[in-house]
Amino acid sequence: MGKIVERANLRWFERLYLPAIWSGFKVTARHFFSWKRSEVYGKEQAGFELKATMQYPEERWTVPTGYRGAPYLVSDQDGHTKCVSCQLCEFVCPPKAIKIIPPGPAGKSADRPNAEKMPAEFEINMLRCIFCGLCQEVCPEEAIFLQKDYSLTGTTRAELIYDKEKLLALGGTHGGIQKWKHKLDEAKEQETFPLKD
């Protein structure tokens, strides 16, 4: 089934191409002389129209909520590491980008009261990470979140393996539940819990 396209019957004047050329000129001239500015260069002048180009390193996308960027570790309101080194994220991670070394029996204890442990080392290989968000979904402590960073750059491969300190620094604070703190409070109220703090 072919579709027959209706062709307009052009008058002799239109067939000279001149009207089309003229309107083409009008359109191009309007855009050429619109003097739109780019955000980067036009900061000093207010009220200018913007060019279509977004000049990447200086101008960036407004990332929508729920965007899956790079996963970072977060701290709680008191600045403590939330991760308890359960290794669920390491286990679930499809590309095996996460590597956790737990403290072990003789290792350093957690930096907050009543928590059993925190990771001795926590590395995410950003070259492997596929930003799927399974680690965030699986985490029982709400300690890891996909954040809004999408342009991770480095000059070596080693640079893109983020260690615990870097992940915590980039992750920032995340409120929400403080499960271990609340448990401690409950225990104190009951005065039966052996832990003194």
Binding site: A20, I21, G24, T28, H31, S34, Y41, K51, A52, T53
Partner: protein
């Protein structure tokens, strides 16, 4: 300066001609043509960017340039260094030849695309005089015939590229190119005949002299100019007649299989042809290096005046180049049959009628 004068005086007339021609060729190609080609590409990118509300090249700069106050960032923003980077990139790219090409022709085609454009420059008077030297590389008395002879050769580069690449898109590009060139060659030739009927001489210098006395030919022969302009677009494979290349249909047309400097030659050849055709149009229709005021219409007597003449010529040429560039972003591509239709069925009769009318008018004017 004395030793230069002595050296020149010591040479025979033939040697002097050879020396000056060589100097003019080198200067015209390396100091004028190639820089214009490079910066026309930049202007094209910038103009297209502005027409499409984009920014255009504004990042390239040598590392030290940002330390210049004000000027450095401005030059970078204008993309002044972009052509240098483009050229460097073309040289550094791998010169890749696919295994299925016909090697000799594959190597020959880019050369054939570039050379005619350069040869056309030879007969265009780009200034009046510098000292005692006429500012034209070859002062031929059949200048325009030479031009048409050479311009016809430029189709070989493209057709040969299409044939040598031995794959379908270049081949289609080559075929389209040959058909297009043939149909517009005739229209182009017919369009300039009235000009030479009025001048009575085929020498391009004589054409300029005539225009200096009587006014530019665009006033006397607007139909000729319109036809020549359209044919020039077709000859240089520019939109709306870029059939051989038509990148949205034929990948990149005739130069699909080319890379590195071989592609660069096609690329530069296209722009050099634009410069040559613009120079030709300036000579034929816009009075060449003359301006009707400030006494710029007489051959130069001083160094300053001859520099001004060259400047006037270059200015007019650049104006026409801007027209070429602007039209590229203004008009959509012609369909193949419309192109043929315009060339054969409209322009050739129009050109013939133009010649007849001009002849009749000249006859009536001369009778009185």
């Amino acid at each position: 300066m004395d030793w230069i004068n002595n050296l020149i005086a010591g040479l025979s007339a033939g040697q002097q001609l050879a020396l000056f021609s060589l100097l003019k060729i080198l200067a015209a190609i390396f100091l004028v043509l190639l820089p214009i080609v490079a910066y026309t590409v930049l202007v094209e990118r910038k103009v297209s960017a502005f027409i499409q509300d984009r920014v255009g090249p504004n990042r390239t700069a040598p590392p030290f340039i940002k330390y210049l106050p004000v000027i450095g960032p401005l030059l970078q923003r204008l993309g002044i260094f972009q052509p240098l980077a483009d050229g460097l990139k073309l040289f550094l790219k791998e010169d890749f030849s696919p295994s299925h090409v016909r090697t000799i022709y594959f190597w020959l085609a880019p050369v054939l695309a570039m050379v005619p454009a350069l040869l056309t420059i030879a007969v265009i008077p780009f200034g009046s005089k510098l000292g005692a030297e006429k500012m034209v590389i070859a002062d031929l008395n059949v200048g325009i015939l030479y031009t048409f002879g050479i311009v016809s050769l430029s189709v070989y580069g493209i057709v040969l590229a299409g044939y040598a690449a031995n794959s379908k898109y270049p081949f289609l590009g080559g075929i389209r190119s040959s058909a297009q060139m043939i149909s517009y060659e005739i229209a182009m030739g017919l369009s300039v005949i009235p000009v030479f009927m009025m001048v009575g001489d085929l020498n391009l210098g004589a054409v300029i002299d005539y225009q200096a006395k009587h006014g530019w030919f665009i006033l006397y022969a607007p139909v000729s100019f319109a036809m020549f302009l359209v044919a020039a677009f077709a000859e240089t494979n520019r939109l709306p007649f870029d059939m051989p290349e038509s990148e949205s249909e034929l990948v990149a047309g005739y130069n699909t299989e080319y890379s590195s400097m071989k592609f660069g030659l096609f690329f530069m050849g296209e722009y050099a042809a634009m410069v040559a055709v613009s120079g030709m149009m300036v000579t034929l229709f816009f009075g060449g290096w003359t301006l009707p005021f400030w006494g710029l219409d007489q051959p130069a007597t001083s160094l300053l005046l001859s520099a001004a003449h060259i400047g006037v010529f270059l200015g007019k040429t650049l104006g026409l180049l801007l027209l070429f560039i602007w039209v590229r972003w203004m008009l959509p591509r012609f369909r193949y049959d419309q192109l043929m239709d315009l060339g054969w069925k409209r322009f050739i009769p129009l050109g013939l009628a133009n010649i007849v009318v001009t002849a009749l008018v000249l006859l009536l004017l001369n009778r009185n």
